[in-house]
Symmetry: C2
Subunit: 458 residues, 2 copies
């Protein structure tokens, strides 16, 4: 798809140079706003305001929402106050808030000044909620109905007020801002009788989230219940907004990306890979690299401590990488599985003992198979094929024993640390491969040398 | 939430023992089907059929869909033919297909026999499409309208046929099964005039997917365009079904989990962590552990090859873990970022050179900072503080040079391999940490010994 956009960008570029503005407009209006946004992003930045002004008002606003923050900022700076107001008037409140959150202070000031008073108040209200909470991702534009309305009156109300609402399909029956029930447009259309009362039609078993509920949990609830929208209530149980499925999908994607980045030993980034400069990448990667490098000092110290043992049995060195890597891989398998289960809500801290017991049994199976395979490999390849005289069966035994114990320790640590992190309020994803590897390295070396010094002549 | 379900399960269990069936029913009907399913899963298996029969027909079917395959199978085996037919009649075709896909052959036979002829035909049709394709995740139940209908006629048609459709909110205007346009219920309700023709109201810029489109791409398109549903067409561009947002959310979650599992060096699993037995975990983990252990033979061979150099300068051994770990971490940072960008469709193979050039510049910055920090740390800690006489400035220089080159190689490999894998049709996620680590280990050791043998007295 990126390739298509690139060539389309080239076509538009030449049409732009030939000043064929009407034709450009004709091309753009047939496209979906998300696609227009990605085409515009590939165009020369200086031409952006011109191209953007070719779009009809409503499509312009929808395209604006889909663009990268840097380009939004560039466009806003080029807008007159009237143009800015026109775009803002077409936005849903939650999209306006997303934009405001990414802009520098002076741009935010201009936006809030240009927005109409209702929207300004609503933007400010949503901005008060903590980042990544249901309150910060909700929109205040939903359809509310009264319980004493008839089906016909409800449909009339939707027809009158629906145009500005992010979704009209789920309507909330409220009294004094408390939610009494939910009515869908499907319920309304399929109702047997137009005179039926909303209070008789509504579902009263309403699932809602609090403004402070974490956005990841909100997304998972929407996905679990297959809802189009979830109502958001404040601490007094008064309804303040809704979160819709499309925002939940974005949250799911962002949270998975964030987990993957943290598990890969990086601080998470908002920018896409292609938009990140090498300096951005450097800044997100160097802290963990430095930290892990320094913590590898311990493994170095362990090796230095056993320098004499190693000098007496140089052959032991050759198996250090295999031991460390297998330990690291075993630990990261356990940690990655546990981290994902925690973040999908499948696993809780209360499952700690059963999870560890599961990992112990898995580790015993993995450890035995690996130890036997390793013993066979060493005796076959190193001893028989390569005729390495220092690789004796006792050396092979030392390596395999150390391997089995390392796998066990790695799996337990890989399971334990993410769950402990979650318990004390840290992000479990931090406890993934890089971190586990460093710990497992140290343990595997200690075990290795302890077994070696007791079984081999030193 | 799991905790709440557990205690609710206990309450129901004691109500069950006291034979308070009406009260149990009263509790269950207030709950959402997804929650009923998770409560039932925590109950004694023998009591399941009894509890299930307490549910009203429609809720029973919705609950059934949300249950784990093992319990669905257990229930089906206990159903009479009439009961099975009752549940099936309430299911949407795509849910029925999901269930059929998980069941053993004899159960599938019973299901197909009990289904009414239309559903049987549709199930068989969907089963023909390859796994993970749009065809296999679609439902054939959608609302189609004719272009010459008026708004009023369209609403009437929805009222008459809508009850069995998975979504009524997006309707497809078709002629000879080709899609002419899309009309939403919002468009219909907000239409200025009931006599307006559908052909004048519809959006003609329709985005559709082919039956063979990969489910991950379908989910990303739904998310990108914020659609409730996407139409699925066959190779003759005839509409055959729709994919809805709730299935797309499940796919997004499953695909992210699958990527994370593969990146963690496991074969992907369908079961949740708590439902996986140690034997399941073992089977998904041991192949990669064995493969990576055997491939670590190469690093062992490199070390054996330079045994004399190591014997002459035993101090070099102490820095091997740090070198290997930092290389591995640098490589997995790059690979994880690239794999995620590839799977979100942000990055294409055509971006290869710009991606590698970006990684090279990032690697130079990371490498320089790490080398300087490492030199400082070695001179300060090992040389000055620990008074290790064999740690000379030249040794520190060897380590730091090797470190910088390793980081560069690791980042380039970490970026290159996933993109090559994608190009030749492999899953890029396979090229994550475990695989990259093994390659980078070998490279870092070769570089290390090459620099050491040329700079140090051997």
């Amino acid at each position: 798809m990126a390739e298509n956009n690139f060539s389309l960008a080239a076509t538009l570029q030449s049409m732009l140079e030939a000043k064929k503005y009407t034709s450009i407009r004709d091309v753009l209006v047939t496209m979906n706003p998300a696609d227009v946004a990605s085409v515009l992003e590939d165009m020369e930045e200086a031409k952006l305001p011109l191209l953007f002004r070719l779009l009809p008002k409503e499509e312009a606003a929808e395209t604006f929402v889909e663009m990268e923050p840097e380009l939004q900022e560039l466009l806003i700076k080029g807008f007159s106050d009237v143009e800015l107001k026109e775009v803002l008037d077409e936005l849903y409140v939650d999209d306006a808030v997303d934009i405001v959150e990414e802009m520098p202070a002076n741009v935010v000031k201009r936006i809030l000044k240009a927005a109409d008073p209702t929207m300004r108040r609503e933007i400010n209200e949503i901005l008060r909620y903590p980042e990544n909470s249901a309150g910060s991702m909700m929109t205040t534009e939903y359809v509310s109905l009264r319980p004493d309305m008839t089906v016909e009156q409800a449909i009339l109300r939707i027809r009158r007020t629906g145009v500005d609402k992010e979704t009209i399909y789920t309507c909330y029956v409220t009294k004094d801002r408390k939610i009494l029930g939910i009515v869908t447009v499907k319920d309304l259309l399929l109702a047997p009788d137009d005179e039926m009362l909303i209070s008789d039609l509504m579902t009263t078993n309403v699932i809602s989230v609090n403004t402070s509920t974490d956005q990841e949990e909100v997304a998972q609830m929407l996905s679990k219940y297959n809802y189009l929208a979830l109502p958001v209530v404040d601490n007094e149980e008064r309804m303040v907004g809704i979160v819709t499925f499309d925002d939940a999908m974005d949250v799911m994607e962002d949270e998975a990306t964030e987990d993957i980045e943290i598990m890969g030993g990086m601080t998470p980034s908002d920018k896409s890979y292609l938009r990140s400069t090498p300096l951005d990448l450097f800044r997100h990667r160097i802290p963990w690299l430095l930290l892990l490098m320094v913590s590898a000092t311990f493994t170095g110290m362990i090796i230095s401590h056993f320098e004499n043992a190693l000098a007496a049995q140089v052959v032991l060195t050759a198996f250090i990488p295999m031991l460390m890597d297998t330990g690291g891989n075993s630990g990261s398998q356990a940690s990655v599985t546990v981290i994902r289960a925690l973040s999908l809500g499948e696993l809780e801290f209360s499952d700690l003992t059963s999870a560890i017991w599961k990992e112990v049994r898995t580790a015993v199976m993995c450890g035995c198979v690996l130890a036997v395979a390793c013993f066979g490999k060493i005796m076959l390849v190193d001893h028989l094929l390569m005729h390495n005289p220092s690789v004796t069966p006792v050396v092979a035994l030392v390596v395999c024993l150390a391997l089995a114990i390392t796998v066990l320790a790695a799996k337990v640590i890989g399971c334990l640390l993410p769950m402990l992190a979650k318990k004390i309020g840290f992000d479990p994803a931090v406890m993934a491969s890089p971190f586990i590897t460093t710990m497992v390295d140290a343990i595997s070396l200690l075990v290795y040398f302890a077994i070696a010094t007791s079984l081999l002549p030193m």
